[in-house]
């Protein structure tokens, strides 16, 4: 791949302060991800995978090092800039789905559009995507009435509704059975193939990792 990376980190470090103790979560991560890549990240629990996502996704600032996402330098970003990054540049999918429990599936997706300021535009392509995800019939249900697999598909729809440059999926199949896991992974692969969606996916499962183009391993806050 000769395109310039959509994500680039150099000597990325993150130290959490827990009481008086410093907890190093990332100890110098160097990573480059090309646009359109589907990258799997594996590694033991506590190795810093989620922290890496949180920094790339603008949920928390890095302690030191360089990190650029879609041409933006995150190291020097203000809180407000990172909020804007989360609106349109990245989409998150979590292990626990994280849908708003009081809203229907449709409204969960609509909230993301509303927050990003995209709610007034009709989006025929997105309607097509909903059909692809097979959740068209379930949109008027609240999360509590949906199966795990359905909830995660809604969460994916919500994550990509604003056409983010990057989709960050943190153990998206961690709470799903085999069948639903396969369905979700197939959807991610479809998104990547059809729309060229750049995807980073954390997983414990080698079978899941095999859906990506490439796998990187993390251990003790570093890529090995």
């Amino acid at each position: 791949m000769n395109k310039s990376p959509i994500i680039q980190t150099r000597d990325l470090r993150k130290v959490y302060q827990v009481g008086k103790v410093d907890v190093p979560a990332l100890r110098g991560v160097d990573l480059a991800v090309a646009p359109g890549e589907f990258l799997a990240i594996v590694g033991p629990s506590g190795s810093g995978k989620s922290t890496l996502f949180h920094i790339i996704g603008g949920l928390t600032p890095p302690t030191s090092g360089q990190v650029s996402v879609a041409g933006q330098d995150l190291a020097s970003m203000s809180d407000a800039d990172r909020t804007n990054l989360r609106k349109r540049t990245v989409g998150f999918v979590f292990q626990k789905f994280n849908l708003l429990p009081n809203l229907t599936a449709r409204d969960n997706i609509a909230v993301a559009r509303y927050i990003a300021g995209m709610d007034s535009r009709p989006d025929p392509e997105f309607d097509e995507l909903l059909r692809l995800l097979g959740i068209n019939e379930r949109l008027d249900h609240k999360p509590s009435a949906l199966s795990g697999g359905e909830q995660q598909r809604i969460a994916i729809a919500r994550a990509v509704v604003n056409r983010p440059s990057i989709l960050l999926a943190d153990e998206p199949t961690g709470n799903l059975d085999t069948e639903n896991s396969k369905a979700v992974l197939a959807i991610l692969r479809d998104l990547n193939r059809r729309l060229g969606q750049t995807i980073l996916m954390i997983t414990h499962n080698p079978e899941a990792a095999a859906y990506g183009h490439r796998t990187v391993h993390m251990r003790d806050g570093k890529i090995v």
Binding site: T83, L85, R86
Partner: protein, 367 residues
């Protein structure tokens, strides 16, 4: 979309929402009742004073315009006024409190009063026939469940109800002048004097003339119009301050209820706040949701408070129609809404800022 988020949140915890709204409604009702009572009492007194048909009122020296006690004016004045130019008739009355400050008995010469006012409208019974006769108005009769011929205890005496009159003139309880003078040990004295002129247009002229007399220097003399216009909330000592105290309590309760309610809501929704933040929701977006939710509860509380004030109105009219008057004062609805919104907005500010400042990662990890 904000509205939807807020409404779904409110709907999701109906008990909390209803309780908060009910608590916010309490001070709203209090404020509206207080204002309604003040207006009601004043309007009622104004109406009854106007019903006398006089043009001028002469009050005892050093009396406040509110209430009277004793009968310090010599009856000689009544005859004196009668002889003044333009004066058509005069009426000296004795006022005696019966129950608190809101209910009093008035002693009159019924024939003179009828000449001045056009007379009472008797709903049943008729004028005095015996010294222990009392005339009462329909509301007091209702309140006491009294009919003509019944006996009533008033001012440590037993009276026979001789007539029940339509309300709106002079007083609710009317006794023969001489009897009340005897009873209050004020023979030959009256509490105040009403003067009717040949033509109301002469009122100011006569007042000027009376005021210029040295013997009347110390006597407050008002036109009835001027006197009744004094019956406003601003003129009643302490009432304005009391209204302010109740308003402050209203703001404080609204503040406390909303602060507590929203604080708990923010705790319960920590994770949802994290989700909204992960979607790019700004601090202001989060704060706005909390504020709007509090405002809606404030508006709901105000509406409920207004409804409850109608309930209080109904209760007062049904139970104590003579002692207490209350009116519905719609001009205070927006004021009470503003009071509530100030309280709720401030109450929501702390929980709202707390929510807005949540660290998204910690919020998302919240179980």
């Amino acid at each position: 979309m904000t509205a939807k988020l807020v409404l779904e949140n409110l709907k999701n915890r109906p008990m909390r929402t209803l309780l908060s709204v009910a608590l916010i409604a309490v001070p709203v009702t209090l404020i509206l009742c207080l204002v309604g009572l003040s207006h009601g009492m004043l309007e009622d007194t104004q109406r009854r004073t106007r019903g006398i048909g006089a043009d001028i009122i002469v009050r005892p020296p050093a009396s406040s315009f509110l209430g009277l006690s004793g009968a310090p004016i010599s009856q000689g004045f009544v005859d004196f006024f009668q002889k003044q130019p333009h004066v058509k008739m005069t009426l000296g009355v004795v006022n005696q409190p019966v129950q608190g400050v809101t209910l009093g008995a008035t002693g009159i010469d019924l024939a003179k009063f009828s000449a001045m006012s056009g007379g009472f409208t008797f709903l049943s019974g008729g004028p005095f026939r015996q010294p222990d006769d009392v005339i009462i108005d329909e509301y007091y009769a209702d309140e006491k469940g009294a009919k003509v011929g019944d006996h009533l205890k008033l001012l440590n005496q037993t009276w026979r109800v001789c007539g029940i009159i339509a309300s709106g003139k002079l007083a609710r309880i009317v006794l023969p002048l001489g009897v009340l003078q005897e009873l209050t040990s004020n023979p030959g004295k009256v509490s105040q004097i009403y003067i009717k002129l040949d033509n109301p247009a002469n009122t100011q002229q006569v007042i000027q003339q009376l005021k210029s007399m040295p013997a009347l220097q110390d006597y407050p003399i008002y036109s009835v119009e001027e006197f009744t216009s004094l019956f406003s909330i601003n003129n009643i000592p302490g009432l304005k301050q009391f209204v302010w105290v109740i308003i402050s309590i209203g703001v404080a309760i609204g503040f406390a209820v909303v602060c507590l309610s929203m604080y708990m809501a923010v705790l319960q929704r920590t994770r949802e706040i994290g989700i909204l933040k992960s979607l790019g929701g700004s601090n202001w977006f989060i704060l706005r949701i909390i504020l709007v939710e509090a405002m809606i509860m404030g508006i709901g509380g105000t509406i409920l408070g207004i409804l409850l004030s109608f309930g209080a109105y109904w209760l007062i009219h049904t139970l104590v129609p003579a002692s207490i008057q209350m009116v519905i004062v719609p001009s205070w609805w927006p004021i009470s809404l503003a009071i509530t919104l100030v309280g709720t907005a401030f109450g929501a500010l702390y929980p709202g800022l707390k929510a807005a400042r949540h660290d998204p990662i910690e919020a998302l990890a919240y179980e």
